[in-house]
């Protein structure tokens, strides 16, 4: 075992422990903000695993998308609606917990069998270190993975259109004047914004 292999094994061990503890923390901690931050730890450790697998582009993309975008959005959502609230007692919580445990164990068993069944032993020559992973990825995207790739982009487009429709309030018709008797002097009545044409965008900058 030379230096590189030793470093790989040690870092794999560290990353595995980090993933497991952080993932358990995400599920088990009662403070939701701590869970969200630990999720970032899970994502970071997974990108470390990708690095160990020589997938440098995927590792960087993992950090950029999962840590930089998804996790930040989750944190935003938590912090914008962060309302300290105790969990109310639910009747039959024991049964629910047992059911959850059974489902989780089932999933774990499924994954476990998958791990055991899959032939992991690869031919030692075939996973030839790809010189430039980006080019290889691009070739796969535009040949054998073209359909999933395009479907994913359509899905993202749909999500974006949906978000824009939700965010644009000017499609909602004007609320009739009868309702504003409730508004007090301290609250501003929320009016739909006027349609902003392309012409006056320049004034905003």
């Amino acid at each position: 075992m030379n230096l590189a292999e030793g470093v790989q094994i040690v870092s794999f061990g560290i990353l595995a422990v980090m993933i497991l503890t952080a993932a358990l923390g995400v599920v088990l901690l009662s403070n939701i903000v701590h869970s969200a931050f630990l999720l970032a730890g899970v994502f970071l450790s997974i990108s470390g695993l990708y690095l160990l697998l020589n997938a440098d582009f995927v590792a960087a993309a993992q950090i950029l998308i999962y840590v930089g975008a998804v996790n930040v959005l989750i944190l935003f959502a938590i912090m914008l609606v962060n309302k300290q609230e105790d969990f109310s007692k639910i009747p039959g919580s024991l049964f629910r917990k047992v059911a959850t445990g059974v489902v989780c164990l089932g999933l774990f068993a499924l994954l476990g069998t998958m791990v055991l069944v899959t032939p992991w032993a690869l031919d030692s020559t075939s996973p030839a270190v790809i010189e430039n992973t980006i080019i290889a990825l691009g070739e796969h995207f535009f040949s054998d993975f073209l359909l999933p790739f395009e479907l994913a982009s359509v899905l993202l487009l749909m999500a974006m259109v949906g978000a824009i429709i939700l965010a644009r309030r000017d499609l909602i018709p004007e609320v009739s004047e009868t309702t504003d008797t409730v508004t007090t002097s301290l609250t501003l009545p929320e009016r739909p914004r006027e349609l902003s044409s392309i012409g006056n965008v320049g004034e905003n900058n």
């Binding site: 931050f37 970071l44 960087a60 840590v67 930089g68 930040v72 935003f76 914008l80 905003n204």
Partner: protein
Amino acid sequence: MNSGIDLQGSFIETLRGFGLSPGLAKTIWLPLPMLLMIIGATVGVLVVVWLERKISAAAQQRIGPEYAGPLGVLQPVADGIKLVFKEDVIPGKSDPWLFTLGPVLVVVPVFLSYLIVPFGQNLNITDLNVGIFLWIALSSIAPIGLLMSGYASNNKYSLLGGLRAAAQSISYEIPLALAVLAIAMMSNSLSTVDIVEQQSGYGILGWNVWRQPVGFIIFWISALAECERLPFDLPEAEEELVAGYQTEYAGMKFALFYLGSYINLVLSALVFAVLYLGGWEFIVPLDHLADWIGVSETTPWLQVLTGSLGIIMTLVKAYFLVFLAILLRWTVPRVRIDQLLDLGWKFLLPVSLANLLLTAALKLAFPVAFGG
């Protein structure tokens, strides 16, 4: 292709000459460039802090730091020592773990990003295939740290500052990445060394500024926003938010934030120099000059000369950009948060998309000039 000095090779050769095994020699070599980079980055920060104070003073017709060392060059050192000795205050009812982890998460990715900055053909830590993409990815970790410290401080201003920082950071990452993408498209690679190689050969005329004037401006605006420099320093706007996410921090933790923001500025300037100003390239192509005089490329003194000139050129370009940033700081007033997001989403994003499209079209039309 692989001209320039090979420090690693010669270092290992020397150690083997002393009778060490190659593996051991390599192990001794490994931490050296990293250590050098960390020290270099810290010294770079000290220089930038001094420059910032001196240039700000000059722009306001003041003198600036004067008594700590000649021309006040030791002032940042004095500031740093003061911060080290200050009490480490953790406010009551805060979240001590997140409060401590926040500054670390802000600083470490920035230091890591120095991995990809090349100062010469072989004068970098690693020449990664994903180079510039790694920088973009790592810089997206910082908002998590900012949110963390903003939340953990248990302070309204901190929370608002943290949220603003994160919002600003993710909005401006997109035009930044698109501007970088146009460059990557032209040089057919994300590696910083390849990007500089692609600009070499024609001296100042070959630099990407001339091919990407729009991308140049977009990148600079987005980089300023990413660094939270003055036209876009809303997360720490002292008139509205006290100091944003740094409000509750003191001592060494505050110093980490301070260090992080200035390292980020230097790093952005360095990356900017690499992407648009030809990295370590001199104003005139040195290879041709050497050929013309009749000196071989492998002559040791020429290699040392080009190597040191490369480092100097990279630093000169980077510090010129830092100078511009400081001048901008005293010229442009701070934007409002809605103006900031308007500029990011409604101006920079479409313009950078159009720039990307134009670059692709030009690359197809003129493969000679825009990288075939």
